[in-house]
Symmetry: D2
Subunit: 404 residues, 4 copies
């Protein structure tokens, strides 16, 4: 009997192979296919025009790295059963299935306070029901309730295949070479010791590079000031829509899935809400913004038109907060330029903060296994590149404005 | 005085530099920014998940190759004035600005019978008005009314930078290495002889490779059977919508820009129609398909749901037409499976043709300039790889069906 | 028990893994290590400065592709025992071990008329003795005396991993992108049918690309006119040395391994000759040429100095033989420029031929296995790119001269 | 008049263009061509089989980066005359022309105490004489006696194109992705301020990456323990030869250029010594080692055979010196294994140190030019990755032994 096998071209890794019925079922599921319509990097394509890859593509990539990781560990004699292998592969395929439209950019703005991992788990349960329990082990691993902890660590940890893929893929599609990591070497250096995922001593430099690349991608890409400006604009658009909706929604409705979450959703989570959530994707928001760009509210239509045509906030980033004085001066200027009430000026001039944490030493560790059997954290090795000062979270303040 | 200069990261070429006010004006124009929301390869991402790059990205890429080409030619002593240089760069930025939603896939289905180049020209005229004639030379070159013919050939010819970029970019994002061409070597080998664009003798193998890569991209990607199936499905969805609209459009309307073209447009072209056309992008269609997937017409909702969830037509391709008998058998089967009238069965079982022409020797030539001054077409050199048999158009027949 | 495992960085494929004691024994053998001192592409580095990679590197690369091929075939259910797997890997490591200094360039000039494959086999026998028969299966496969023919075909056939590696590696190190093939896709498409190695239907375009790339590498690299000129010069140096040696060898001797083959070797092959042959590498020849560049024979020292300093023959290539007249004219000129006897003028002006056969349809085939079970040669498919005219050998004539 | 122009394929950068008579003269010079026969990375190919690239290749690569740098600076309005442009390009072509056989590995062992830069300068003077002063400006720039300091800094400084090329090239040919830098982005960010070479603020992360990559290449490649072991072996071979030569050189002589430096050279530098030095390359040493591998001195022949066959010292690296006790124990063991006198045991068991300095803050700086006009060193920016602790030199101790 020949096994059905599908090969997918991936510009990043070459070829991705799918070869198990459970994996085919997951990929064919509408909840999974929906990830095709969600950009992996939200609005970053406004700065990096190549960064239009999707959540689905990232999910397939992380799956590919998981195949490599499992293969390496098995070659090193780590026991992984066939059932565990499929389960951990299914888990990585589904790890981000709970991401909503515009990914992180809207994470707290569609379903307030619900983290995408929580939603991923809800969706896994829902699919598991359809698949009559075939995802039981997958869910146990995903929720870290499976005895072999290292399987969970491969999905979620300081050195999981999720991060390895998104750094690799995001640096590939943005063209930012500073974010390139040696994923293949890291994978070759993975091992399991006392049930935990570790890296062999020879992999120290690859890990250092991984952490430095991550830091650089944060500052150069994920927290790029223009990306921050665009995402702030998107959030303000939704804020204005909700504000306006108090006075009636007739001219705001899109007649798409988005309407429910903007005008009806009360904060509860149930099967029906989940299903509606899975109908949403980037398209709904972009369509809405195009529609609202013709709305007669000056604030709403201005912000929408500007986001569509890439006329974004001017933005400054710095280590200290901006003075009230500076803010007031800009607001005063804006008041003179735009035909708006004072109470709305915050849509045109505003401040906020972004945070980048490269490596939190307190809560998670990247363990290095030395040849003599000792285990040390990457920041505790001789002559480390990764210091505590680097590991600390870095907060930056921004000021955005639309004054020409 | 320092010139404003912007550098854009491109995963394909590294960095693209924009350094002229006219080019900034073009890129900032909403008609240009709209290209961000149009996939370069329509639905090909359903087969190649990486192929989500946009028309805007292709346009920037072709512009980059144009910069390289102009640079090379000038280094070889070919006279190109500053004005011509900017004009030809502006022309390549705008060469595809007339593409509509889903690019080639819907080329003849939104504005029947209007080619995207015609629309590009209309849009250039429109922007030229705003820019007070700054695009006059650009338009002369684009329409081949400029004395230096080679400038037009760089934009549109057998070996233009448009093709060089789309082959390079499409093979990059699909991950299909068979389509990789040596664009940098071809550009180094370009020259002008008797006012025409030519390739130096040393570039013969690079040209051969270019033509073979093109052939391979056609069969492996552009006319990939699953891509053909998806695009056929999309076209059939629009066909069904128009059919249904004869009985009223209330439950078909999206309240977006698409409605005009589906239910009102009468075939005329004027400034207003052009403006409406420029409001359209992929989003409108995807949003509509999501909406129609809940329509109560079985044919429409089935096709929409299937396209969204990648449950595409099963398709066969061959060199001969399919027999009536085979078609009838499949239709008969389909009739038994689906609750539809006989008159609608063509939405579920259908045939058609695709054509690939690698290199039409009759109408355009790739001229090779030999060291001794003679000029020959690439198919007329000694020991050619490119034969007339290859140059002939290849027609393939397909049959699509939805029977499980 | 943990298996010893070694990972080698390869710029072409990433990482190559060695994980079996027999493979370690082979790689550690001085006869194998000697391949480090033999350029894979002889003197091609005089045109392509990056092309300094070694026979050892190619051998490791071909081994890596063999690992991938074996893995793919096993995944498809083709039976390959552990013993066969190691044997076929050992065979590919050793397939080129019989190459002498400057590889193909001197193939018929050190041991006249002995093909490098014959020498590879002799060396395998020699190592097999040391290893007490561990290479028995390896030798059976290498000599095509093993029942599973496809194992031999993986090592030596129209589509063996040897060719796949050398095309990939040579195009990588020369930087000639025209030679890039999609080795990973070809490997994914390999299968075994009726005991023979075949390619699945979906791999047709990859095979076409492979054959076209080969053709292009021949014309652009292997038979690059300057490479031909350099290799002709090398051969003429040895010819002159042998000529001079008839009058005494004192001032020709290098006191290295080369002396035996230049001045003593009588054409016999035995264990001792083999051992001496394995002491030779590129170093011996380059050292000798440096030495001879100071010899008082004008012809010898001129050619040696020129080869060292890259002052090569001027060369012309064409499809027809050069006329006697042209040759005589050049010789006449050369006679006036150089202080040499007429009988020696052939060292300064000479003609010859090179041959490139892309794909000999008569003797070997690349079989395509269609989904319906039929098997066709790649040149017999519908709408083939590879024609008989292409498959025919192409002979070119060259003329070399040293006239300034 | 058309300018002669030559294009060289480079696997790293694509194409390198040479287009000036002075540059052609330099490249054609035997002193330059000799760099083809010197490995860029000495014996590193024993660990990284791809690392067989040459000094000539590196020199061409650095030249290519210089072309890009000069182009960028000119585009930014920095004044560089045509004469300066050619001079700085000539200087970078010649910057390493003084490297001897096996580059750094033998830097202090052929001409004791003469640095390769001193020799480069001597050779430049010598070629300048032949070229009748065409290199005057080149030499002024190379020796930092030219008013525009930034031209010298492009050749020799913390951020010169030399380093940029060797990091890029060495990581390319070794396949060590940790060493990849974003050279193209760094070049785009270069500027000149107050006559000094600087980097624009936007380039901070690229510089950080450059410094981290350098650190990683040192530990992972340049000071890889096996590379250190091989180079130690090579140095010991020469030491033993000199020792033996006190008792007569008849059976040590190679009859090549090496003999002079091993047995005659007295430490003086003059035109004749320089010329002899330029006759040396890797070939002479490898040939000698092959010869000495049959010498009847046990120490010499053992070391030579082992180096040829890659049976290297076993080596350990650590941060603290090795104890006398450990050393003595190993020596004692070695004494029992090898038939040698106690006075020679240091050839079989020995210790030493290696040093890696990533970035010496005290003596050289990488200046960052901020938008507000301030200038800061990269280690003095906000939230720096590069700390003083990293900048400090790191010394490691090794112990080498041949005990099985």
């Amino acid at each position: 009997m020949t096994v059905k096998r599908k090969i997918i071209n991936d510009p990043v890794y070459g070829f991705i192979t799918i070869n198990h019925p459970l994996l085919f079922s997951i990929i064919a599921h509408p909840y999974y296919q929906r990830l095709r319509r969600i950009h992996q990097m939200a609005l970053a394509y406004l700065v990096y025009p190549g960064a239009v890859h999707t959540r689905l593509h990232h999910s397939l990539g992380a799956y590919h790295l998981m195949c490599m990781a499992v293969n390496e560990l098995k070659n090193k004699g780590i026991a992984i059963t066939d059932e565990e292998e499929i389960a951990v592969k299914a888990a990585i395929l589904l790890h981000d299935v709970g991401h909503g439209a515009f990914s992180h950019a809207l994470e707290n703005h569609i379903l307030q306070g619900v983290h995408h991992e929580t939603l991923s788990l809800e969706i896994m349960h829902s699919i598991n029901k359809e698949l009559k329990g075939q995802l039981d082990t997958t869910i146990a691993i995903f929720t870290n309730n499976y005895p072999k902890k290292f399987l969970h660590q491969l999905i979620s940890g300081q050195l999981d295949v999720d991060r390895m893929d998104y750094l690799t893929r995001d640096s590939f599609f943005t063209g930012v070479s500073e974010g390139v990591i040696g994923y293949d070497r890291i994978l070759k250096m993975l091992t399991v010791h006392n049930g935990e995922l570790m890296v062999e001593e020879k992999g120290i430099y690859s890990i250092e590079k991984f952490l430095v690349a991550r830091r650089q991608m944060y500052w150069q890409v994920y927290l790029h000031k223009t990306v921050v400006a665009a995402e702030t604009m998107l959030v303000n658009i939704l804020k204005r829509v909700k504000e306006l909706s108090k006075d009636g929604i007739e001219d705001l409705k899109t007649f798409g899935a988005i309407d429910y979450f903007l005008y009806e959703y009360t904060g509860k989570m149930n099967e029906e809400v989940l299903q509606k959530f899975c109908e949403l994707d980037d398209t709904d928001f972009t369509f809405a913004i195009k529609k609202w760009s013709k709305h007669n509210d000056f604030v709403l239509s201005s912000l929408c038109k500007r986001l569509l045509n890439r006329q974004l906030y001017k933005i400054q980033l710095q280590h200290e907060p901006f003075s009230e004085e500076k803010l007031d001066k800009l607001k005063y200027k804006a008041m003179q330029q735009f035909p708006i009430k004072k109470s709305l000026i915050d849509y045109f001039v505003l401040t906020g903060t972004t945070i980048n944490t490269m490596y939190k030493t307190e809560d998670e560790r990247i363990n290095i296994l030395f040849k003599d059997g000792t285990v040390k954290d990457i920041s505790a090795i001789d002559n480390p590149l990764i210091h505590h000062t680097i590991a600390a979270p870095i907060k930056k303040f921004y000021i955005c404005s639309l004054i020409p």
